[in-house]
């Protein structure tokens, strides 16, 4: 794996732009109507992995707005209430940013545990926003399935962290 050395500049396009485009493409692909043996494909929330990884890599001015844009894309593409996923992703990002110092030096399992927390915060925020806007609680079983599908994205978040966490010496 190619790691960014401390002398290289942390290009926003590389750690924010390209992962965002990959998430958008993956979301579009997973929205294909496929039903195999009566079962539908899972619908993970790909940007949750970015919300976690970006918060671990370094605090940033651009990352919240990138998450805002990704959340708006999810809402418009999935046909949900516009504003639901921006707030959910930002809630997860804010949670991880606020405990960044605790996360420094953690290994795969430690980061994985915090990823569980970040995904739970995002889902909890989505549940709260939905209850407030639709006056109706969504199915907890459905939320559980989407939560599990989103947890499967942790390896991608971990890879992104490994690739960029040492890129800015001020935030090691």
């Amino acid at each position: 794996m190619t790691l960014i050395s401390a002398t290289q500049r942390l290009d926003p396009w590389r750690w924010l732009g390209l992962p965002s485009l990959i998430c958008i493409a993956a979301t579009v692909v997973f929205a294909t109507p496929v039903k195999i043996f009566g079962l539908q494909a899972p619908e993970p929330v790909f940007p949750i992995a970015l919300a976690f990884a970006w918060a671990v890599i370094r605090p940033s001015v651009l990352a919240p707005f990138a998450l805002l844009a990704l959340g708006l894309f999810l809402d418009v593409f999935w046909g949900g209430p516009v504003g639901l996923w921006p707030l959910s992703l930002l809630a997860a990002y804010a949670t991880i940013v606020s405990v960044r110092r605790v996360l420094s030096g953690l290994g795969w399992w430690g980061l994985g545990a915090w990823y569980l927390v970040a995904a739970a915060v995002a889902m909890g925020a989505g549940l709260t926003v939905t209850v407030l806007t639709a006056s109706n609680a969504p199915s907890l079983i459905g939320i559980g399935w989407q939560y599990l599908a989103s947890l499967a994205l942790f390896p991608f978040a971990h890879r992104l962290i490994q690739r960029f966490e040492d890129a800015d010496v001020r935030f090691r």
């Binding site: 929205a31 109507p33 605090p59 593409f77 949900g80 989505g126 109706n136």
Partner: protein, 370 residues
């Protein structure tokens, strides 16, 4: 000398604070957008230009991705048809026998239905035109259940149109663009569908929660429902026509009443969009009241004169009895008379009475003739 050298090299607070401010600003924008969103209404403008443009952009990608899936499904069906031809043939023979009985019953019922409608003078809704469409994108999460169908404004699709699969109701159109329309599924957490229980006629609101089986809310009456009851659209509110198949009643994990959707019996790759319009809501009551009544034929004039003479000759009931004014006797011979008196008020149960049924007070009786 850059700012990172010298006394500024250890400064981290400004960037952290700037990042925190950016986070707050982004959250405020998100809240503002959320408060301005009006999803789930049947108003066309609620969908917004942004969503229309996004759906139009998503259309080519969805078509490109869903086409191979459809081809694969067709290929699998072809191979299955080849290998399971014998069992399929037996199943179809049994189905034909059952359908022949149903056909005979349907012919008899259609004939009887037509005669009863003629006797009662019912006005029925015209046939509903339909548009077939492919589903090209599918969101199935707990917070949003919607699909994109590749038929839009150019085919006459409008916001509010009901959408069905080959088995039952799927949802309704909440957004239309050129070549594509957004379908809100009945399972969506924002979906509310007026339904009725076929066995008892009890009304309820089918409320989605993002799961596969939406809830039956606001059920009325004593024991209005039991497991296995058929659920149909009630037509209340005029958004959906009456009688579309929805599903079967089941009990949820919490003991609440839910509906297993008929649409789940097969893949929803094709849908039918019903271009339904509630004609009773389209009628303009002032225009109807201003219109001149159609001319009467000689036979109708003679019948009307006879009825008026009979009504004048009839003794007036005592005022103290509190009874209603004398009604026409309910005998078979009086059926045409009843039909002539109430030509528009006797729609099928559940349907709204047409506004034309209310005549102007000063008009003579011919004004209420059909």
């Amino acid at each position: 000398m850059s700012l990172r050298d010298g006394p500024f090299q250890d400064i981290r607070i400004p960037l952290t604070w700037t990042a925190a401010i950016a986070l707050i600003v982004a959250a405020v924008i998100g809240v503002a957008i959320l408060l301005g969103d009006r999803r789930g209404t049947v108003q066309a403008q609620a969908f917004g230009a942004t969503r229309s443009v996004a759906d139009s952009l998503a259309r080519p990608a969805g078509e490109a991705l869903s086409a191979p899936v459809r081809w694969t499904g067709d290929a699998v069906d072809y191979v299955e048809g080849y290998f399971f031809a014998v069992s399929e043939n037996r199943r179809l023979h049994a189905q034909i026998r059952a359908l022949e009985q149903s056909r005979d019953q349907a012919v008899a019922l259609t004939n009887e239905n037509g005669r009863l409608r003629a006797i009662l003078g019912l006005r029925t809704e015209p046939p509903i035109p339909m548009v077939a469409a492919h589903v090209i994108s599918d969101s199935r999460g707990p917070f949003a259940n919607s699909r994109l169908a590749d038929a839009g404004r150019e085919k006459g699709v409008a916001v509010g149109n009901p959408v069905m699969s080959e088995h039952g109701l799927v949802g309704r159109v909440v957004g239309v663009a050129e070549g594509v329309s957004r379908v809100l599924m009945v399972t969506d957490v924002a979906s509310r569908t007026p339904v009725m229980i076929d066995r008892t006629g009890a009304r309820a609101i089918l409320t989605g929660d993002g799961g596969p089986s939406p809830k039956l809310a606001y059920l009325r009456g004593m024991d209005p429902v039991k497991v296995g009851d058929r659920v149909l659209t009630s037509g209340d509110g005029g958004v959906l026509p009456r009688g579309l198949p929805v599903g079967t009643v089941v009990t949820g994990l919490g003991g609440d009443w839910r509906v297993r959707l008929d649409a789940d019996d097969g893949p929803i790759d094709f849908v039918r969009i019903l271009e339904f319009t509630d004609f009773s809501q389209l009628a303009s009551q002032p225009a109807l009241n201003q219109a001149e009544p159609p001319p009467l034929s000689r036979a109708e004039q003679a019948e009307l004169a006879a009825r008026l003479a009979a009504a004048e000759a009839r003794p007036t009931p005592p005022a103290a009895s509190g009874a209603r004014p004398a009604a026409a006797p309910k005998s078979p011979s009086s059926a045409p008379t009843l039909a002539a008196e109430k030509p528009t008020g006797a729609k099928p149960s559940g349907a709204k009475p047409a506004p034309a049924a209310k005549p102007k007070a000063a008009k003579p009786p011919p004004a209420i003739a059909p």
